[in-house]
Symmetry: C2
Subunit: 140 residues, 2 copies
């Protein structure tokens, strides 16, 4: 995959909450896991160790800023952080709020579904997600 | 879960390759994903943002040192990094070497199995993993 075919080189990846010279914070507005955030490195490279140490530090500081605000606003039972990129090998971090009664818990969000959730459950989490997105937009 | 019942407070979590005052690097010696490494924070806390910024930095520097050496020694197609802790909410990072022909690729290792791998495939990866573990033990 090169910069011509990479979806994260050609599309924002979701609602842009912050964009700097180096990275952007986006909300994919996931319908099953409301509040999920991605921090995407702008340049097309695939691994953390493709970055210089100072760049890694900047990226993880941003991930932790998102996590911090996500915990304050959404009060999830757990935070999941992951940089996988098996489908899209363009460096990006998932910051995912998890609840004991969400669709997959305690499995990862890429694991086997454990239960159904009600539309009321989704609506409540979407309301919290909306607050989080506003805070993140106003933070930077 | 408290320090009395937490498995990562009461067991090493695998073969210890390095242990410092703050964290340890262990090889769970996974039979399906050879070479997987975990970096475990020694103190019982669950999220990155439970750490002070300098501690986060130390932890991620260690994760990146492992990733760097894993790429050099094992030459995987992709690295997967994750801090989930849904089952064991004691801060730990997975550093996972991935290959296009491994059991789950391109799904996460917590996803649906995509194929069988031969015992020869496993043996070759285990030989690389063994080299990696030796390098990690001698590095610190």
């Amino acid at each position: 995959m090169d910069t011509k075919t990479c979806i994260l080189c050609n599309e924002t990846g979701g609602r842009v909450l912050m964009r700097s010279e180096y990275l952007r914070v986006i909300a994919p507005e996931d319908k099953v896991f409301p509040g999920m955030i991605r921090v995407i490195w702008n340049e097309h490279l695939s691994e953390m160790t493709d970055l210089e140490p100072m760049q890694r530090s900047l990226l993880m500081q941003t991930v932790c800023q998102v996590e911090d605000l996500m915990r304050q606003v959404m009060r999830p039972d757990k935070i999941n952080l992951a940089s996988l990129g098996n489908y899209v090998p363009h460096l990006h971090w998932h910051i995912i709020p998890r609840w004991r009664d969400d669709v997959c818990y305690p499995e990862s969000i890429w694991g086997i579904k454990q239960r159904e959730v009600s539309s009321d459950w989704i609506s409540k989490k979407e309301a919290l997600a909306s607050q989080l997105f506003q805070f993140l937009e106003s933070r930077w």
